[in-house]
């Protein structure tokens, strides 16, 4: 607790500079091997951070720690200044973190629209009474969520597939649905794990446009794990290079990429 890096303000007070997501000296072991070693990072509101590194560098582990899917063996995670250690993934989500998964994890028996509505923070959702009685207020909330879901689908260009099941979509389209699902959370920071993997060129462009538009209009922060540097060049304000469980370098995307190329060249020489 005492090591909390300036937790200025509790939840919701997104003044200009209060970080929305902080990882502080995060460490995770898998069977005695450190997958992550004292990794720290800070994401400010509106930040777009690219996370790069080879396979097995610990990128997905870091994402899982930052969303509560796994618990760290050391270090702390703060969401909007609140310490989150030991909390469930649902608590992370409620605190304002949304995510996508490297290996797609859509709800396969739900329609595209239902996938998105499932993620919405919806008041009164757990009331059995209103689910069964379906009074006017409930119908109103349903309509509202459906409209919001359709708007998100329009944003990613999948409005016409709203009532299809996820099964019928291409891989890239499924990625876009996952993105829309994460956006439906109304989060303050969204963690994207290889969002463009398996996408066609058109889909990748769509993804880029959506992310830029959302980032600018809603001041939403993103942490993006991605192998495609071109994408990060367009999107990211800065980049982190993770290698063997440590952050080796961070800064402007170009300088980080140059450093990676340098070290690759050094190995080749």
């Amino acid at each position: 607790m005492s090591s909390a890096p300036e937790p200025e303000r509790p939840h919701g007070g997104a003044t200009g500079d209060a970080p929305v997501l902080v990882g502080s000296r995060l460490t995770k072991f898998y069977g005695g091997v450190a997958a992550l070693e004292r990794v720290s990072l800070t994401i400010l509101p509106g930040d777009v951070v690219g996370l790069v590194g080879a396979n097995g560098a610990g990128k997905s582990t870091l994402l899982n720690l930052l969303t509560g899917a796994i618990r760290p063996d050391g270090g702390e995670v703060y969401v909007c200044g609140r310490p989150m250690n030991g909390q469930s993934p649902a608590a992370f989500a409620h605190a304002g973190v949304a995510r996508t998964f490297q290996k797609l994890r859509l709800f396969l028996s739900l329609t595209v629209l239902e996938n998105i509505c499932a993620a919405m923070p919806s008041p009164g959702r757990w009331s059995l009474r209103s689910a069964l009685l379906r009074d006017r207020a409930e119908v109103g909330r349903e309509d509202e969520e459906r409209a919001k879901g359709l708007a998100l689908l329009r944003l990613v260009g999948l409005e016409d597939r709203a009532h299809h099941t996820v099964i019928g979509l291409t891989y890239g389209q499924r990625r876009l649905v996952e993105l829309a699902r994460a956006l439906a959370r109304d989060a303050t920071v969204v963690l994207l794990d290889e969002p463009a993997a398996g996408m066609s060129e058109g889909e990748e462009r769509q993804l880029c446009d959506v992310l830029i538009r959302i980032n600018q209009s809603q001041h939403l922060a993103f942490l993006i794990v991605e192998h495609r540097w071109a994408l990060l060049r367009r999107l990211a304000h800065r980049a982190l290079w993770l290698s063997e469980g440590r952050i080796v370098q961070q800064g402007a995307p170009e300088s980080v990429f140059a450093a990676i190329l340098d070290s690759a060249g050094a190995v080749a020489r």
Binding site: A90, F101, F107, S109, W126, L128, R134
Partner: protein, 311 residues
């Protein structure tokens, strides 16, 4: 003629009870995705509690008292079964898949062992349920029986529609999302604990309601009525019905009519040709048929596309 109507109405009641029971299992298995093998235990709780409440009726008590006790027995029976369900929510959050199936099985089998060994509950023989309803006898028999049939069919239809409506609601979407992918759903802020609390209390409650009705209508409950095979059969109907309430009700109707028909040697042509052999081998044939059905249509008789391509 009268006999046929009598027979049909009686079985209509039992069919409805089975449908209500299955609606409970649809909530547990179909919506919440809990692999349950212990739902017959919830039904037993409902039935024995109803029998106990009915036992409070003094001989020659007024009609009003009987009606009050009837309502009380349903409330207590459903509540008791729901409480039994809530008991299993904790383990269901910790145990996955097959292990949860074992835990529910152990729950209901231990419950039945307690019943079998408790003299006050009638032990192995079971107990007679004091009748709170006018017993169907004499000239008014068919009219009374008809009323029961109507009431139970209405309740069954109500349960099926309620479960169906639940499935489409916002709550239902959350339940199905958690069933499909728990980690993803929790990362989207869905609370699996709340989901399990709701589905266990509702599912077990419906099973308990079926138990209540069974106790009042049959007039006798014994541990044999709630055996493992009965429970597995209902789960089978649910799977054959594609894990939806309406599909399950249809599957139950088909199998039930087939079963009773074979018992009665209807289907004249078949029984005429094969004679007693068919009737003697009825259970074996049904079991074989169901295996074949499961093997060829594992997502139900009329699977929705989404279920078929699930894995």
């Amino acid at each position: 003629m009268e006999l046929i109507v009598d027979y049909t109405l009686t079985h209509l009641v039992y069919l409805s009870i089975l449908v209500i029971f299955a609606a409970g299992v649809v909530v547990l298995y179909g919506l919440a995705g809990v692999f349950t093998l212990g739902h017959q235990g919830f039904m037993a709780i409902g039935a024995y509690l109803a029998a106990g409440i009915a036992g409070l009726m003094p001989s020659g008590g007024s009609f009003g008292l009987a009606a009050a006790l009837l309502v009380a027995s349903v409330i207590v029976g459903v509540g008791g079964a729901a409480a039994g369900g809530l008991l299993l929510t904790g383990p269901s959050l910790r145990l996955g898949g097959d292990y949860m199936a074992l835990a529910t099985l152990a729950f209901s089998e231990i419950l039945l062992a307690v019943i079998r060994n408790t003299e006050a509950l009638g032990g192995m023989r079971g107990i007679d349920v004091v009748s709170l309803l006018p017993r169907a006898s004499g000239s008014a028999r068919l009219a009374i029986l008809g009323t029961y049939a109507l009431a139970s069919v209405a309740m069954a239809a109500g349960s099926v529609l309620a479960v169906r409506r639940l499935g489409c609601s916002r709550l239902g979407i959350a339940l199905r999302a958690l069933r499909d992918d728990e980690l993803a759903a929790r990362s989207m802020g869905l609370d699996n604990r709340q989901a399990r609390l709701i589905s266990f209390s509702l599912g077990a409650g419906l099973c308990g309601l079926a138990g209540c009705l069974y106790a009042h209508f049959s007039g006798h409950v014994s541990p044999r009525d709630f055996g493992f095979v009965q429970g597995a059969l209902v789960l089978l109907y649910v799977v054959l019905g594609g894990s939806t309430a309406v599909g399950t009700a249809c599957a139950i109707a088909v199998v039930y009519i087939l079963d009773e028909g074979l018992k009665l040697r209807c289907f004249g042509l078949l029984t005429g040709v094969l004679g007693d052999t068919l009737v003697n081998w009825k259970d074996a044939i049904l079991a074989g048929l169901l295996i074949a059905l499961l093997a060829w249509r594992p997502y139900g008789l009329l699977p929705a596309d989404r279920m078929r391509s699930k894995r």
